[in-house]
Amino acid sequence: MTTMADHPVLTIKDYKSDQDVRWCPGCGDFSILTAIQKCLAARQVPKEKVVCVSGIGCSSRFPYYMDTYGIHSIHGRAPAVATGVKLAKPELEVWVITGDGDALSIGGNHFLHAIRRNIGLKIVLFNNRIYALTKGQVSPTSEQGKRTKSTPYGSIENPVHSIAVALGAEITFAARAIYNDPKMLQEILERAANHKGTAFVEVYQDCAVYNHEAFSYLTDRQTRDDNILYLEHGKPMIFGKNRDKGIRLVGMDTQVVTLGQGVSEKDLLVHDEHCESPTLAFQLARMAYPRFPTPLGVFRDIEKPSYEAMLFDQIKATTAKLGPGDLNKLFASGDTWVVE
């Protein structure tokens, strides 16, 4: 396991804790766990430099399975807990592991504010479109009309597009991947990990028990190529089993077109991850099955100062100006007098 005495090479095994992984057989969470472990190994991140912070849900058991530091916190609050970790030790790599209920229902506000601060957290949302741990209630990402234990007559809520919400709060890195494409998942996670500021990755995940095959339109070999649009920076948006379909911009709206019938690649929308304005990404984030192919890949990736960088800049600047804090001086500031 050690190539040179002082340079141990970390492998995916090193990131595994000694606890049995207790998700259901067939659960989509397994592959995300592996992908994150691979992402760490690929980047040789020392185990002690990683903190995984989660909320509550099946997905949120994640930290227990990692031989890193970790906090299995309370429902919805992981981004806030992680904010504290990051501000205490900005040099750590802090992952937030959350579910669709955890991040978007009870935790929606912390999600939003972490993003707007652009604090250096890697938020991975395991989206199975259901409350799994509590045995199958509707979640904010469940489709309208969906029958669940809490919506026996069908859900009457409009599902949330998590990336659109994140863009509303000006996320600087947003991406989507799916549990059954581990390679792409790992690539995206690595990019998220290397991003400064908040990185948000939505991962479609299959809950084998309470929402099995919710994403079959994206995983079924027959249909998936017609339903997935892989986003590639600088490339025109082409998709389809025969790569004969594309996305065109009409005004500010997108349209699915078939190539060939008077439409050529040049007419298609070209993806731009680094576009300063989040509007393109916003439009993509709302494209949904069945009207549109589902975009997978990086929606947005821009640079902006992180919250922690700005905070420590202020600390540094103030210390430079005033000198390091001196209690005697502090105590005696303002009007003082002496009693003899």
């Binding site: 970790g70 504290g84 030790k89 390091p324 003082t336």
Partner: protein, 624 residues
């Protein structure tokens, strides 16, 4: 002054009589825009500098600024100063400065009969009287006959005094608070130099304003000296204060200083996560300035996030502190439960205010004791201590941090609206008076287990970044020692007991309870906690001087309680718990010690008055 006339004696100064008082209470009252808080603070400092003991309390109007001159807009600042120990801002006012009719209307009820009343007669115009809902001008009726009324044309005198500075009318008028202060300085024989120095430094960049305020102050003083209207002048001598350097602090300032000091002593960064709420916000405002102490303040999106971030920061090795008031504490409780389960050191300051719900947000109360101690899901014990005076908030903050890191636990520090906004002189400690705060982070993987306990019952504080000590904490029950998730029934029982035992262990280092009065027992014991200290101590002090058989126990620690407390309670015939709620500590003492404690309950948005307590003493002991 009415309560302190015991040692008056006449003296001849500049042809006027001087009375020496043990203690006096003065209140400045005017419109929100009149700068009353400012001159109140100046008076406080001047009094402190000449050696008085001092206690102050600002009395703001309701949160929203009402139109000028109306009753809703009255802002007051009260100072109690004495040559003996002063514990409260005073029950009644001996001297009232009323800058307009509204201020007179609002405050007159608090002025002691025979008290001094200085009114700005210029402002008693038809319009202002109407705004204050006066039908007739009280200066022209017999309404004020029982007071020593001094009608001073403060506004016009001020304008005259500052004319030469060239300020415009509006700016010139703004100096009238300093004129009033000058009058009062003369009346109570205070030196002007401290205030002049303050004016000079405050307005260094606008010399005309500095000059004007100086002139107004001096003119007011001269008015007292020369005008014929004052027949008597008062002097309050030095109090026997502990020697040292002093400054005035409010409770919130003191708490902020205490946390900075504690973090520094522990050698750790301070992380203060909070969400603004009255009356706790100033702790955030103070701490956010001290960036060169590596203080990291975080204004979170809400209270839940504030505490969650504090917990995260504590996990990663910061001194984690949050501050809030009642409704905010309610929101933090789920997170605090996580803090107790994960056994991470954090401090929760609750600056209590009038409840329930939004209640009386700018008023004081002591009604969060149950919430702090018992208001979480599950068996979820945490240490609770309460500060007893504004300056004591400094010491209590230090103590809360020390216990938190030693016992690896969230600790509640209870303050209240009165302590937080009130001020008193704080003797600035030498650094060597501050006990060090020992923090150890393990580094050796060899014998590391995240829930292996030390002699205090505390688990190790291993922090991220330490190679080989990777471990996970969380809200699910954890296996003893190993710290992995455990659903084992016997383990849950054991861990529940260990958590409770750890808090009980703290009793070992709480000093035995002191009794003010008769250690051996007697007819009546008053028990207080938190901000009720001052009123109860004053009352008992005076009652004992009057020969009444009453003693006082003031509890700093509410959970756990001092080991000898039960013993003490049992030695008194009657025990009365005085608290600004409907009987929260009373209930806890009854349950713990099976003592038939009575309660003196007051929820009127204001601290106890000394007279409330004395009345109770008289009631129990059968009158003086």
């Amino acid at each position: 002054m009415s309560t302190t006339t015991s040692s008056k004696k006449a003296m001849a100064t500049t042809g006027k009589r001087t009375e020496t008082l043990e203690q006096a209470v003065i209140r400045f009252a005017g419109d929100s825009g009149d700068g009353m808080q400012l001159v109140g603070t100046q008076f406080t400092t001047a009094s402190a500098v000449i050696g008085n003991d001092v206690s102050t309390f600002p009395d703001y109007p309701a949160e929203i600024r009402a139109p000028a001159g109306t009753l809703g807009g009255v802002s007051g600042f009260q100072i109690n100063f004495g040559s003996r120990a002063v514990y409260t801002p005073g029950d009644t006012v001996d001297a009232l400065v009323a800058m307009n009719p509204a201020a007179l209307k609002v405050c007159l009820k608090d002025l002691a009969p025979g008290g001094v009343l200085v009114v700005n007669s210029d402002e008693f115009t038809q319009m202002n009287l109407a705004k204050a809902r006066y039908e007739t001008n009280p200066l022209e009726t017999d309404e004020l006959d029982k007071y020593r009324v001094y009608k001073v044309p403060i506004t016009s005198q001020t304008l005259l005094a500052v004319k030469e500075t060239g300020l415009n009318q509006k700016a010139a008028e703004r100096c009238k608070n300093f004129y009033a202060l000058g009058v009062v300085y003369w009346l109570f024989d205070r030196p002007l130099d401290v205030t002049i120095r303050w004016i000079d430094s405050k307005f260094a960049k606008v010399p005309a304003v500095a000059e004007a305020n100086r002139r107004a102050l001096q003119a007011g003083y001269n008015y007292g000296e020369t005008a014929e209207i004052f027949s008597v002048r008062y002097r309050v001598g030095k109090a026997p204060l502990k020697p040292g350097r002093y400054r005035n602090v409010t409770g919130n300032q003191a708490a902020a200083l205490g946390f900075v000091a504690a973090a520094k002593l522990a050698g750790k960064p301070l992380f203060y996560g909070s969400y603004p709420i009255t009356p706790a916000s100033e702790i955030l405002h103070e701490l956010t300035i001290y960036k060169n102490f590596d203080v990291r303040t975080f204004q979170a999106e809400d209270e839940i996030a504030a505490y969650a971030a504090v917990l995260g920061a504590a996990y990663a090795g910061c001194i984690g502190v949050t501050g809030t008031s009642g409704p905010g504490l309610a929101l933090k409780q789920e997170g605090i439960g996580l803090g107790i389960m994960t056994e991470l050191p954090t401090v929760i300051v609750d600056v209590q205010r009038g409840g329930p719900s939004t209640g009386l947000p700018t008023k004081t109360e002591q009604s969060d004791l149950w919430q702090a101690m018992l208001g979480r899901n599950g068996d979820c014990p945490a240490p609770v201590l309460a500060a007893s005076s504004p300056a004591d908030c400094f010491w209590a903050a230090m103590e809360a941090v020390r216990i938190a890191v030693k016992y690896m636990t969230p600790v509640f520090l209870l303050s209240d609206g009165y302590l937080s906004q009130g001020s008193e002189p704080w003797r600035i400690p030498n650094l060597d008076e501050l006990a060090p705060i020992k923090v150890e982070h393990p580094t050796d993987p060899a014998d590391f287990a995240p829930y292996r306990r030390d002699a205090n019952g505390s688990r190790p504080w291993a922090i991220p970044g330490t190679p080989g000590l990777q471990h996970r904490v969380g809200g699910l029950e954890k296996l003893d020692v190993a710290g992995t998730v455990s659903y084992d029934p016997a383990n849950h029982q054991r861990m529940t007991e260990l958590r409770a035992g750890k808090v009980e262990n703290i009793a070992a280092e709480i000093p035995p309870q002191e009794v003010y009065g008769d250690e051996a027992g007697g007819a009546l014991l008053l028990v207080s906690w938190g901000g009720s200290f001052g009123a109860v101590r004053s009352a008992v002090e005076r009652a004992r001087e009057d020969g009444q058989d009453v003693s006082h126990v003031h509890l700093r620690w509410l959970n756990p309680t001092p080991r000898n407390l039960g013993e003490i309670l049992s030695r008194f015939r009657t025990v009365v718990v005085c608290e600004m709620n409907m009987g929260q500590l009373q209930m806890l003492l009854r349950a713990r010690y099976l003592v038939d404690a009575y309660g003196l309950h007051k929820v009127r948005g204001r601290p106890f008055m000394v007279s409330d307590i004395r009345a109770k003493i008289d009631e129990v002991l059968g009158g003086r």
